[in-house]
Amino acid sequence: MISIQGLSKLYKTKHQNVQAVDDVSLNIEQGEIFGVIGYSGAGKSTFIRLINRLEEPTGGHINIQGTDITNLPINQLRKRRQKMGMIFQHFNLLWSRTVFDNIAFPLEIAGISKSERQEKVQELIDLVGLKGREKSYPSELSGGQKQRVGIARALANDPDVLLCDEATSALDPETTDDILDLLVSINEKLNLTIIMITHEMHVIQKVCHRVAVMDQGKVVEHGDVLDVFVKPQSKTAKRFVQQLNPLEHKQDSLKRFITEDESTEVIKLHFIGNDAKRALISEVVKTFDVEVNILQGSISPTQEGAYGTLYVELNGNESVIAETLKFIEASGVEVEVIRDVK
């Protein structure tokens, strides 16, 4: 639905040139929630602003449902933008307008008649759960409510894509979850494509179907969220995944289990999707002559299914341990023998 080819943005200043977005190519499917994650300065905010040309690309093409956005003249671009909603980290509501009038604003711009606006705004207010707050001013709302207004406003002209620029970064964890739930339900209800920029892995885990990891203007890795989570390839992706998995912070505590001794090994198991539900450990104990000592474990839900991590210590004959590892691998669960702790 959205095809991005070789997208680039070069900022030229007197003293230096900054390649904010560097030759990014991606395809985003109709109805998916696509996440873009990166540390600040990675170029992800510039990237999303290139999509609706708030920033002019210096190279490449963006094709949305067959229309090349990059070549549209300004008046057609304005028309196209009405079908591309955007929400912001700091909400960007007009303080001088009530909730109702803020949501009506994009409809006014699109030239919708007053009675139709009335109806549409009421519908949107119900959708985002702000009934009863129509006449409030933004200053009277909490952060979460403000973002709900932002979402309603972005949806007013029935867009085919919703761009979220750090939409939850200014919210507390609980409110973040509420807003993410709302976005997921809108995605499902309206089959709306959502592109989401964030620096929080938690957000990607909770709502996204696919993710691209950005670093220094480039997409260093992209794919299904579950794949990136389980097998991060790039350094940046690994750091993000670690951030999320509390066990990764506690690797120090594994240290004392790791020995030179060949008859004990510490192994890390990755369970993905339905594997997470298998009673693998008891199968292993029944089949092989090994002792299994469970060290620590966790399970994380994502949009595409759960994935779990389990650290265990195996005690037994060297050859039996090797056989055990083979057995586990054959059962579809990923195994990693830990010999060293960072």
Partner: protein
Amino acid sequence: MLSEWFPNVVMEDMWDATYETLYMTVISVIGTLILGILLGLLLFLSERGNLWQNRLINSVTASAVNIFRAIPFIILILLLFPLTDFLVGTLRGPKAALPALILGAAPFYARLVEIAFKEVDKGVIEAAKTMGAKTHTIIFKVLLPESMPALISGITVTAINLVSFTAMAGIIGAGGLGDLAYLKGFQRRDYDVVVASTIFIVIIVFIFQFIGDYLSKKLDKR
């Protein structure tokens, strides 16, 4: 008691002069509002990174504004005599003061307008752009309403300046309370007339300030 303290004050003259002062102030405030907002918009929009980014327009406007602000008002009136004569057809009376009043106050107000626009959240302007808003929509539906409290407190300050400008204009024959204080008070050594005129001017200033504060507060929903 009043006639005891103010033996030379003729109330009829006071009311006439007050009317003239108010006439000059109100008309010039309206003129300043229009001209000042136009100039302020031009200054703001032609700035680097804004909607009509244009170096030439920006520097020409900025220079004009700075030059007019640098000229002392009393001298501006003299400089504008030919223009006034051409526009109004006379150099005496409240009407003749209007061109100088407006040209004297508008550049000052233009700067206040520019500052008010700069205070408008850039993100909100950006949000309007993402909705496909045209420039005039951004001006009328975002910039102006979002900066309204600052625009109003700015015009209040300017209006009070204008009251004192009218008094200066009065001294060279524009009428109003300044004229009254100078001609019928100071020159005849009837100081009670000077004091009475001052009191009237102070009251006018207070009323302007009160209205300005009230409106600015009422419109501010932040």
